[in-house]
Amino acid sequence: MDFGKQLERLEAIVRRLEAEDLDLDEALKLFEEGVERLRAAREQLTQAELKVKKALTGEGAGS
C-alpha cells in the first residue's frame, strides 16, 4: 500500500477510535490494524531510498 493511503487509513482509525462509541472488541481490532499500519508507515519512511529512472527515449524526446 502506498504511503498516502497508509496514512489516510491510519488517520481514519484514530478518528474512529476517538469519536465513536465502539465496543471493546471492535476497538481492539481497530487498534491492532492501526499498530500494523503505523509499523508499515514507519518502515516505509525509514527504509526509503530515492529511485531515479530514465523514461526510455521515444521519438522526439531526445536531447
Binding site: L7, D23, F31, L38, L50, A55, G60, G62
Partner: protein, 390 residues
Amino acid sequence: MGTPLDLFAAASAEGAWTVGEVTRRARAVIEAGLPPLWVRGEVSGFKAWRSGHWYFTLRDKAAQLRCVMFSRENRLLPAAPADGMQVFTFGRPTLWEEKGEFRLTVLELLSTEQGGLWKLAFEKAKAALLKDGLLDPARKRRLPPFPRRIAVVTSPDGAALRDIEAVVARRWPLVELVLVAAQVQGDGAEASVCAALARLGPGGLDVDVVIVGRGGGAAEDLWTFNSERVARAVAAVPVPVICAVGHETDVTLCDLVADLRAPTPSAAAEAATPDQADVLVHVAHLAERLARGLTQRSQRVLDRLDRTGDRLTGAIAARLERSRALLTAHGARLDALSPLKILARGYAVATGADGRVLKRMAQLPAGTSFRLRVTDGAVGARVDGSGEAS
C-alpha cells in the same frame, strides 16, 4: 498645344458626386483594400474622452495616422499609452465620413517598450490561451500530498535535474523520479518539450506530478517556455504540472498555464514533496492518539464492568442471606426429627449383628443376640424366648 482639358464637360447636377457619395465610396475602397492589420508607430496627441473612447495620432518620420480606440476595446488594457510611446496597434483602416478623415479603428494596442516583438508574440499567445480558458485559476489542480512518482521533463545533463534529485532525496525518498529527457533550449526545443509532455498523457507514463523546467539562463533562452504550443502541451497533461524555468523575474506562458509556478527547480521539488521529518512527527502524533484512543475505550469498558460487578455482588449477598435463613429453618426441623431426641425421651433401638434395625418379632427368634441403643450408650442383649404378638 494639346486639347485643353474640358473640366466642365461632366458638369451637371446629375454628373457631380455628392460629398456623402464620394466619402462613402472612398471608405468602401479603403476597407476592401486594407484588411485589419498591425501598425507600429509613436503615440502623439493622446486624448481620452469622457465617453471612454481614446483619440490619438500614430506617427513616424514620414507620416501620421489618426486613430480611435473605443472604450469597449481599451478598457481591457492595463493603462493608457503616453505621448511619445512606441506601440503596436492592431486595427481596421477606415474613413470617418463625418469628418472626411482617414483613420485607424484600433482594436488592440501593445507597448513595445520592453521586449518588443517578443512581448507582442507573448501577448498574442497569452490572449489565445486566455480565450480558450487555459489561464482560468479554477483550472489549477492541487498537488498530491504524498506523490509516488514524479516525472521531470528537462535536459538529462542540466543542473535542474541534479537539484531536483538532491532535494527529493532529502525530503521524500519514497518517491520515484522519472526523467523524461527533453531539449530545453535552442532549435527544436519546442518540439522536444512538447513530445516529452505528450508522453505523460493518457496511456503514457504513470506519474502523480510533473516538473517541467531548466536552470537559470538568459531571457531569450526562455523562449521555449513562452511558446504557445508548449504552453498548450503543459495544459494538456492530465496530472498537476509544476513549471520551474529558473527565472525569478520573467513569468513565462508555461508558468501561467501550469498548476504551480516555482522560481527554481529546487523550489519545484520542495513544492512537490512533503518533508519526511514533518511526516515522522505527524506519524508519532498519530501513534499517541491511537494508544490514547484505545486506553479511553478500555477505561470506559472497565468502568462499566465495575458497575456491573457491584450489582452482581449485591445480588449474591442477598441470595446467600436467603439461603442461610432457609438453612436455619431446615436445621430446626431436622433437629426435631433426630432419633437421638427420641432416645432421650426413653425409647430404645434394637440393631442386629449387621447393624440393621430390628423392628419385628420375626427378626428376634429366641436366643438372638442384638444390641440395644439407649440415650447414653448401647448394651448387648439376648432374646429369652418369652413374648407375644401385639
